[in-house]
Symmetry: C2
Subunit: 505 residues, 2 copies
């Protein structure tokens, strides 16, 4: 551990003092974020997945994905992807993460699904807007957004069930309603009429897949409609369009605060909690147009977070019973589900801990790295200013990981990027390995903080309204959003990405 | 004149010294460019032509145009646009510009046509790529580019006529050839079969309109094919795609050098000539994603540059005889036409000097400012840190301009932006008024220098090849490009944006 990391992860009292001095807190926040991002070259990157060289098309066609490093020839005789997938498979019980809850898993999946959108037909292409724009809630483009808007009061279409607000049903008698014909749902054809009848009409194409998606989409739908209602009362002259657009802007920035202040702070081992400081970065070299990179897409495949059993309605069930099953939420209400997900530990990110039903996806992820000619694990470490590993024992303290990697690769320089990401030990007090953590810091910070809504020209009362600014300023955690969007008189639910019993080591 | 401007426009000896010291030259270049741009807020701007408020759509949908200032209610009883158009009309002889040639007019029109692309159906919308990407030569998108590529050797399709290279004919017997069916040409339906048979198959939708477009497109087509040929010889392993894409990148940067080092330096009154310094601006606050603004579009309507008579083949002719008439160029060759355009003075930018046949376009331009609810001339001056004018005599020294503006507007604060741009006296030794010059500096520099090809990550031999870097480094003027693209043994032609007889005052 280098001295800076040691200081940042210890001396809690000192860091509490730093936080209590506003100018110092801002300076430290800015310094730490800049140093996280500055570990590698900034955008624009010379290469995308289009060509192994730079063309005007590769510099402008964002349906191809960016790449941090150019394509390289793959070393000969790399281990077979099927064999490598075995390294990911859980052997016996789920290895639990000491820090994260299942809610963390749900949030990470839902949130990143909005911008890490690999094209199913071509892993080098994407369908991303390259912005954190709440695509799962609002849809990937305007035609989709139009379908889910109520077109009055700035609202999204919704219905009440058991006194709580939900999106409308997508289908009637197993057939998609005409008004929702434009909403695509993945694997829709494989679902039974009973499952289809439960589905909600939501803009994200994966929104009905698993209960975690549904929970977060329902929560943010309620928050959108709540805010639109408040704006309508405060600004009676505004039409539907202005109410909708302003509520949407406010909701996006509320999500951004949660991402930086709850989600990122959960991930990092640092004693200093980051905060969203919109005016802080106007002159930074990294403040460049967003463009999602293939390396970032592969980083975010945290399949291990899903434990072998999930607790739902007090019962321990197989994870797939939470798929295509929205009645789990309407039966018991949103608050109870958030609490249940917050009281269960997630699996730990790393090898030997992916659920067996995701084996095929691990094979495909390894293959994707090869097909896109990614550089090796060690080359990526060097790119992000991390020392190259020289021995398998520097990657993992787990003897099985060491011996398996040695057996399969022979030499640390041959390890695939995707394998290396997950083979490393997690950082103490973090939930991720050093390489994953570094990439998340670079790309999450540099892509979130360049959101146009956070630009000093735009982050103001003129954009959000005075009421909107107030709403943004008082929200930094999911629990805030949940408790203002459940029926009056509901109990106080426990909503947390971090386990109740987590203790800093 | 403020002291800085005085110093910058005088003391030629001192400025020649500054240029001779490389580090000082770089520092001054950078300082002057930064101060030009820093006269107003930087992108991202909060508003576009979509809505009078900020929405996620307005922040991301670039088919709407950016705006420097938000929409404002227009003052009551503004003068009629038809009456105002009279202020633009030439009264008698063309007022000649003491500095610019007709080649300057041709270049400005052709160059800006690539990125200032107002949508004919909606003046608030555009069809721009928002980049200087040589759209007139390569087309606005990939399907168009594909049509004009030869698909071997990285070349653009071409033919030889009288020993010189030209694009192929678009039509056969007055009908567009099948292979070129995807190439749109404005007002094509109004043309006679004889005119159509002359047309070249070019990617720009206005490329055949006037001889100036044709000249510049032919020149850059030859340059592209010449460079592709050189690359093919130097890098025999490259396929058509790589040759094409690399030649295109090189040609775009060559154009960029001409824009900064010949075109901008022609416009500015400064004694210090700017130069293209790709590495100089990586940390600037203005280094933000491009997005063309309506204000910039209106700035660039320099109709007055076109004199009442053009010299073609030694004869003085009406300008419209140079329209839809590509045989002017094939009959006499490219060099002769460049020289002829370089030996004629352009009209002077300002009121009372637009050709009568463009009257309707002036009416529409004034109306466009009104329809888009642009702020007033004086508000725009203030936005760019120029003092507000308080009297008509501060705008123009021309008594007719003063009295006409007074009669029509009554008050300087009511003057339309579009009128004010052209009512001001031109700056001594420049070819533009102070307000136009300021806007050109802000938007031309800040949009050209953010071109991804100029980014330090990309501006290197890996992108352009060592040969490409050499070609870029030795080109800074149109005359360089012309003389390497005409038949061996041609005379040395005079090619210049600046009149031979121009003297600094």
């Amino acid at each position: 551990m280098n001295p800076q990391t040691y200081i940042l992860t210890h001396f809690g009292g000192f860091w509490r003092f730093v936080q209590s001095v506003p100018w110092l807190r801002r300076k430290v926040n800015r310094f730490l974020i800049n140093s996280s991002i500055d570990r590698t070259a900034t955008r624009p990157y010379p290469f995308t997945t289009l060509n192994p060289y730079t063309s005007w098309e590769s510099l402008t066609d964002r349906t191809y994905s960016n790449r941090h490093l150019p394509a390289v020839e793959q070393p000969p005789n790399l281990p077979d992807t099927n064999t490598l997938a075995d390294l990911f498979m859980r052997r016996g019980e789920t290895i639990l993460c000491p820090k994260s809850t299942v809610l963390f898993a749900y949030f990470a999946q839902w949130f990143t699904d909005g911008f890490l959108r690999t094209d199913g037909n071509n892993p080098g292409k994407n369908t991303s807007n390259h912005e954190i724009d709440l695509t799962p809630l609002y849809g990937v483009n305007k035609p989709v957004t139009e379908i889910i808007r109520a077109k009055h009061g700035g609202l999204l279409k919704s219905q009440m069930i058991n006194g709580e607000e939900y999106p409308p049903q997508l289908c009637e008698n197993g057939v998609v309603k005409t008004e929702f014909a434009g909403l695509k749902q993945v694997q829709f054809g494989d679902r039974s009429p009973e499952e289809k009848n439960q589905f909600f009409a939501m803009a994200g194409d994966r929104s009905n897949v698993q209960i975690g998606y549904v929970m977060l989409n329902v929560l943010f739908l309620r928050e959108h409609n709540r805010i639109a209602g408040l704006l309508a009362r405060e600004y009676p002259a505004w039409d539907d369009e202005r109410l909708f657009q302003t509520a949407r802007n406010i909701v996006i920035v509320i999500l951004m605060r949660i991402v930086i202040e709850e989600y990122i702070n959960h991930i990092t081992p640092l004693q200093f909690p980051f905060f969203l400081d919109p005016g802080a970065f106007p002159n930074e070299r990294w403040y460049r147009q967003n463009w999602m990179a293939v390396e970032f897409t592969l980083v975010y495949r945290w399949h291990m977070l899903i434990p072998d059993k999930l607790t739902v309605a007090g019962a321990s069930v197989d994870p797939w019973t939470t798929m295509w099953n929205t009645s789990l939420i309407t039966d018991r209400g949103l608050g109870a589900l958030f609490e249940e997900a917050s009281r269960q530990p997630a699996g730990k990110v790393g090898l030997f801990n992916s659920p067996r039903f995701l084996r095929e996806i691990e094979v495909r992820s390894i293959q994707m790295g090869r097909d896109l000619h990614l550089a090796s694990y060690n080359d990526y470490r060097a790119t992000y200013k991390m020392p190259r590993v020289t021995d398998f024992s520097e990657i993992s303290s787990n003897p099985t990981v060491q011996s398996e990697l040695k057996r399969l690769y022979g030499n640390v320089d041959r390890i695939d990027y995707y394998i290396g990401l997950f083979a490393e030990d997690t950082v103490p007090n973090s939930v991720l390995s050093p390489l994953i953590g570094t990439l998340v810091a670079i790309d999450a910070f540099s892509q979130a903080l360049t959101n146009p809504l956070l630009n000093p020209n735009i982050y103001n009362e003129r954009t959000f309204s005075p009421l909107g600014m107030e709403l943004i300023e008082k929200t930094s955690r999911l629990t805030d959003v949940l408790h203002r969007n459940i029926p009056a008189g509901s109990p106080n639910f426990y909503v947390s990405l971090t386990r109740e019993d987590w203790k800093r080591v």
